[in-house]
Every structure is written in structure tokens, then in C-alpha cells.
Point group: C2
Chain length 435, copies 2
């Protein structure tokens, strides 16, 4: 039995049933939260494996990154400020074609290490060589929701399903449920005829959620309208996609009818403001989605289009950009954004007892240092986190009851080795790309 007590911190449970703030102690037993107590829990050193002084800490649920491509951190700042087509066709795809299994492992490791440092306790991934990403996730201690990205064309059509099924049987539920596998068809527009229907069959067969890119660009929606007479959202609804649990990433270009479909079918949306802005895709109508009752989580997307994996930054962007484009400072408030990054993220990914701090829930939590210049004075802690804090303020990260970051130091990963190996992989890819 492993017991940890975090004493005297400012706890933000982000639970619809608890107060916004609780000043007190939080007791973790194995991988679960056992108790949140306003009164000091008596410490008898024999009873706890670890007692952490939370005096200068805000403790809140870990951040849940609902969309990304971890290994793309190898291509961080490799190609920027380019039109989307040129970016993909002349820069990203040629390098991705050269990726080997080890590249994906070290790219994923680099991303996982960065995400832990920034307070992310769950990440979502859609890519290739996903067994290697699962290995990295298992080793690091982070919670993961993994899918084999399926283009659904040519050689990849059958291989995609084979890899997906192998990933499910090898990894789904591994590490005491810390590794989750979902189904990852790339988009409504990629894939041979009948591909999307086979995805639906696999979802029916396995009961697993589907993650798909949806309505990311204006071009996607316009092409679908021209070719099929309906939006990509309506088309997926038509073929029964949304009769299963779906996480739709991006959702930038939605009609009112599309929003109604997403709400009615309880599709979860992963909002990726940094990537959508940087690629010039546009700005997702988050306020309208939330008002329609759609659950919206936050994601970083891959580091090639972000260029970091900083969920605090995504929270800030989500709030600021919504206020700016609607010209309404009340558009989205700090608490809503915090919910998007935690409890709503857990809901859309189908993670049970995660994303909220309360007894019986998983001990996925983070601590932010408040004794920082940028967080002084301390008027409103929720506003501080969303509008003033930084990834570097995260000093403690616990996933499933295990400390992954303590006093700002990674406990399960060798940062220097990860930087060296991932740099080596990136150099090899870029040099090979020149040939």
C-alpha cells in the first residue's frame, strides 16, 4: 500500500458538486483519492509513505490533452509560416515518409516529457508505430489514449485495421487501465470507398471510441458540400458514425445544423486553438458549441503546428481568442476553460473517475507554485491559472497515484537522454530528407 498526503494546499476540485476552492489536505491511497479534508489530517509518519507540504501550491486535476500527434515534436519548428498545402506536401509528408519505429518512440518520449513538465496527465495520440508510443507512455507513467491513425487508402487500408486491432489487443487496458486504445480514422475525406463504414463496424465490435479530424479547414467542408451535397459532419452522421462515442478534433467550420448534430449525437469536440490559428485554419465556434451543450476538451495537436505542447497556453488561447473574436469579454470564463482542460476532457475521452478531484476518483493531479512573480498577488486562483500562469509554474505532477514530477524534477524520465536521442532522430530525418 502506498499513501501520500498533500498538506495545506489550495485545492481546486473542478467538481460540479464541490466548492470552487477548498483549503486543506488531500489524501491519496494507492492510485485513488481517498479524502479531501478542510481539517488538517493527522500525520503519523508510519501511516504515509510521503507527506508533501502544499503551502505554496494550488492542487488541481491534471490537464487532459484531447488531441495530438506526439512524435511530430521531432518536426517542431522544422517548417513554419508556410501555406498549408506547401507545409504538408513539401515539408511534413516527405519527412513523415522516412519515419522509423525508433523515431516515433523518441519523438513520443520528448512530447511526453514536455507534457508532464507542463501539467498534462493524460495525452491523446493518433499516429503510426503506436506500439512504440504505448511503450513510451507505459514507461513514463502518463495516462494515454492512443489510436493508430488510419488514412484508409492503398497499402495503409488493411494495415491500418491490422495495426489498430493489434494495438487494441496488446495495449487496451494495460498498466492498470492507464493505457487506453481508441480507433483513429484520419478524417471524413480520407479513405477508400467503404473505409468509414468498416471503422463503424470496428467501433461496434470493440465498443471503443473513435477519434477523427473534423471540419478542420474551410476547404474540407466546401469540398464535401460540392462532392456529396452535405457537410462532412452531416455525412458522418448519415453513415452512423455518431451512433458510437466520437471525439471530433478541430471542428472549426461548422454550420448551425452541424452544431445541432454534434449536440444531439453527444459528439465530443477537441478544440485545438494554437494549431488552428497557426495553420490559418480559422477559429472554432467554442462559445456556440458550449451553449448548445456540446462537451469541448482542449488539445495541442502536434508540435509541428503549435509549436509546443503547453496545455496552459491552450487554455489561455481558448479564452482570449473567444473573447477577442466575439468582442465579448464574458464569452468564456476562467472556470469554464479549466473544466474544458480537465473534467470535460475526461468526459469526451470516456475516461472514468478522472478529471476531477474527489474521493474515489483517480489520483491524476498537479500542483502549481503560487510563490511566483507572475502569480502575485493572489486575488483569484482560477483566473491566475488561465490568464497568468505558465508551464514552468507546474512543480508537481501525479498520475494514478505516482509522482512523475516533484519540485520541478522529472521522476520517471531521463530528460537529458530524451533530448539527445530525439535530436539525433530529428537530425537523421532532416538529413535523409535532403537526399
Amino acid at each position: 500500500m502506498s499513501k501520500t498526503l498533500i498538506k495545506n494546499s489550495l485545492i481546486i476540485p473542478l467538481d460540479y458538486e464541490q466548492p470552487d476552492y477548498i483549503k486543506g489536505d488531500i489524501l491519496i491511497n494507492e492510485n485513488m483519492i481517498e479524502k479531501i479534508s478542510k481539517k488538517p489530517v493527522e500525520t503519523d509518519n508510519n501511516n504515509y509513505d510521503q507527506v508533501i507540504d502544499g503551502k505554496n501550491l494550488i492542487i488541481m486535476p491534471g490537464l487532459i490533452n484531447t488531441h495530438g500527434h506526439a512524435a511530430m515534436s521531432l518536426l517542431r519548428s522544422y517548417a513554419d509560416d508556410l501555406p498549408l498545402k506547401k507545409w504538408l506536401e513539401s515539408k511534413i509528408w516527405p519527412i513523415e515518409a522516412l519515419l522509423e519505429s525508433d523515431d516515433v518512440y523518441w519523438g513520443a518520449m520528448l512530447s511526453i516529457a514536455e507534457m508532464i513538465r507542463g501539467g498534462t496527465t493524460t495525452f491523446t495520440d493518433m499516429y503510426y508505430y503506436m506500439d512504440r508510443v504505448a511503450e513510451a507512455a507505459a514507461m513514463s507513467g502518463i495516462r494515454a489514449v492512443l489510436s493508430r491513425g488510419m488514412i484508409g487508402l492503398g497499402f495503409d487500408l488493411e494495415q491500418g485495421f491490422r495495426d489498430s486491432k493489434a494495438l487494441i489487443s496488446d495495449w487496451h487496458g494495460a498498466e492498470n487501465g492507464r493505457i487506453n486504445v481508441i480507433i483513429g480514422p484520419h478524417s471524413a475525406y480520407a479513405g477508400a470507398s467503404g473505409f468509414l463504414e468498416r471503422v463503424v463496424e470496428l467501433a461496434a465490435e470493440t465498443g471503443l471510441p473513435i477519434q477523427v479530424h473534423l471540419a478542420e479547414t474551410k476547404d474540407e467542408v466546401e469540398t464535401c458540400l460540392a462532392e456529396q451535397g452535405c457537410s462532412s459532419t452531416a455525412m458522418l452522421s448519415e453513415i452512423g458514425f455518431f451512433d458510437f462515442k466520437v471525439i471530433a478534433a478541430h471542428c472549426v467550420h461548422l454550420s448551425d445544423r452541424d452544431i445541432d448534430i454534434l449536440a444531439e449525437k453527444k459528439v465530443g469536440v477537441s478544440h485545438n486553438p494554437g494549431s488552428n490559428l497557426k495553420l490559418g485554419s480559422g477559429i472554432a465556434p467554442i462559445k456556440r458549441l458550449l451553449e448548445s451543450g456540446v462537451n469541448v476538451g482542449l488539445g495541442t495537436d502536434g508540435a509541428a503546428s503549435n509549436n509546443n505542447l503547453d496545455m496552459i497556453e491552450e487554455m489561455r488561447l481558448a479564452a482570449l481568442v473567444s473573447k477577442g473574436v466575439t468582442m465579448d469579454p464574458t464569452s468564456i470564463n476562467a472556470k469554464t476553460v479549466l473544466q474544458m482542460a480537465t473534467v470535460m476532457g475526461a468526459e469526451i475521452l470516456g475516461l472514468e473517475k478522472t478529471g476531477t478531484l474527489k474521493p474515489g476518483f483517480k489520483a491524476d493531479l498537479i500542483g502549481l507554485r503560487t510563490d511566483r512573480l507572475n502569480l502575485t498577488p493572489l486575488h483569484d486562483p482560477m483566473a491566475h491559472i488561465v490568464y497568468a500562469s505558465a508551464a514552468a509554474d507546474v512543480s508537481l505532477v501525479m498520475v494514478d497515484g505516482r509522482l512523475l514530477l516533484e519540485d520541478g524534477i522529472l521522476k520517471t524520465l531521463d530528460e537529458e537522454k530524451i533530448r539527445a536521442e530525439s535530436s539525433r532522430c530529428a537530425d537523421r530525418l532532416v538529413n535523409a530528407g535532403k537526399d
Copy 2:
């Protein structure tokens, strides 16, 4: 004589006449850059007071914050997610009315310390009790461009001019030219009849630049159109404002004619994306301003509407938001944004031999650590700074040849005391505000 040598770093001069990158040594003699050398400068310990290993550092010009209200950091996260009118009238103004000279001193100190930590080497301020801000700036070692904010009404009308003149005579050019004073009328709409004309007279008399809030909100422009038949930009031009050097802060709502006026009159614009988004003011047409030949600097505005003073974040927001709203990823590139935060900032503020690294220029420079997860691998350093780096990556800050931050430690300021004193002031204000 004090000589510092920074060896073997990656130098980004941000000079229109030098290459983008120079790998080499940079030699600082007293407060000036003496030499930038690709060949290793021979080190004879007798010749240098300090030799810094720059192996893992990007050295670039210090960031220039072209608009702010430093003491408002006392109200950081005090009032958020509110409509602008309610935010000002029920929250900000009542507290500001209670401000005493010591509050302004400690609020400014808090902001200066945070800005130095984030790589800002020059800040611009418009507020009250400006002699105390000047004191804080002098003590800290940061470069400052200070103005007494003048509402131009009632009691403040004469007092504003008296304070401005005293600030000019007491502080302009102090600390070997490190403290600069400019003239700070609040806006085109504030002030009694004849106030703006008197501001123009003071500019003519002193030869000093003017900083003014301009076209920040749609309401400002619409009211001016309704009441005076022209935009606030056209109105200021009409009364001869722009015949002097002017820094116009915000410039969110501009017609094509307004942009032509700003370009023709060589008005500098301070773009404050974080504050404009957060207050729901809108999004300034930066791409169009730059294309028209207007120099655009970057600013944080006050921490009450931001809520931090992180110039790296402002760079990122400027680039991302421009790409997102224009739906064009080539809208503004990383290098342009870096120029806005450095050399263009110096130009609009009228700071000579500042904002660029080259021999004969002032030694205002910063070092960012590249051995970080979020900056791995190192494909494109300029893209890294704008899209992936964080304030916490800044480990070295030098202003006028003096180190203010070294290995991430503040050299001239007592961080703990500043946090305690500014918190004390903030608590007093908020408690007094409750009465």
C-alpha cells in the same frame, strides 16, 4: 572599465544589415556592444571582468514593451471575465482611486521584476506617482520610457501638466540615459476642451514623444464619428498631434483612411494583442499596418487586463491571431514578430542605438536556454522563440551592459521582498475597496 565576453552562443542580431544568425562571441565594453565575432575572441582573464559560456544560449536583443501600466499588477486577476464598463467602473477605478505612492512603487517593482525574468529590457509606462516608478526603474537597472498619464479633466488637468513637467526635469535622461520621459495624454476622448492642444504645445516645447491610447474600442471610434464627424485618428491628425513623434497604443479599430494617416505621419503603433483579446476590444489589423509601412511594436498593457507581462507570449499571440483571423499562415512570420518586439519597438519609442545587436549599440540583450524539452530539436531558432519558447527559458538579461538576470537569478532585485510588499499593498487596497 567593465568588459564582458559571451562566448560561443547563437546570436540573432535582428539587424537589417547582418545575417539572421551568427555563431560566435559577443564582446560588451561598459554599456555598449564592442564586437560580434564569428572567430573565437581570445580570452585573457585580465582583459574581461566576466566571461560567460554561451554554448546553450541564443543571444538576442532584449524585448521592448511599448505599452503598459506597471503598477496595475497589484490588480492582476482581481477582476476578470466582465464587460468592459463593469470591469472599469465597479472594479478597477474604485481601487485605483485608493492608490498611494507606495502602492505604485511596489506594483511597479513587481512588474519590473516579472518583466526582467521574461526578457524585457525596456518597458513603457503611463500612470500616476511616476516619480516612484522612475525610482523603481532606476534601482532595478531596467530601461524605462515613462509618462504621467493625463486624463486632462478637473483637478487632474493642471496637476497632470505639473507632474509631467516635474517628471521631465527630474528624470528625463537620468541614469546615463536609461530613464526616458515622454508625454502621456490618456486618449483622444478624455480631457477638457483645449487639453489636447496643450499636450501638443508641451511636445513642441520639450521635443519629447507623446504616447496615447487610440482606437482601442469600437465605441471610441463610433462616438467620435457621431460627435465630431471623423475618427479619433483623423481628429488627432487634424489638431497637429501627429506632427510630433507619437506612439499610439492599441489601434484596433482603424479605417483604411486611418491607416493611411498613421503611415503618412509616421505614427508608431503599440500592438497589445493579449489585452485587446481579453477585454473583448477586438483584433488590430497588424498585417495591413505593416504592409502600409507603419512601425508596430508590441506591448503587454497592464497586468489587470492581460494578466501577465510576458513579451514572448505577446509575440506568439501577435503571430497566431493574425494568421487565424486572416486564415493565412503566411500573414506574419517569426522574424517580423521578433523585429516588432525589438528593433521596431526601439524605433517607435525613439530609443537610439537600441533594439539591435551590433557594434556601437547599447548592450541590452537577453539569453534563452536552448537545452529545454520545448526547444528540442533545434531546427529553426527564430520559430522556436516565437512559437515554442517561454518566459522561463530566459536565463540571462543585460541592460546597458549590466547583468540583471544571470542563470535565472535576479541580480539587482530582492524577489521575495517584492512579492511580500506588493501583496501587502494589494491586500490593503482590496480591503479598503470593500469599505
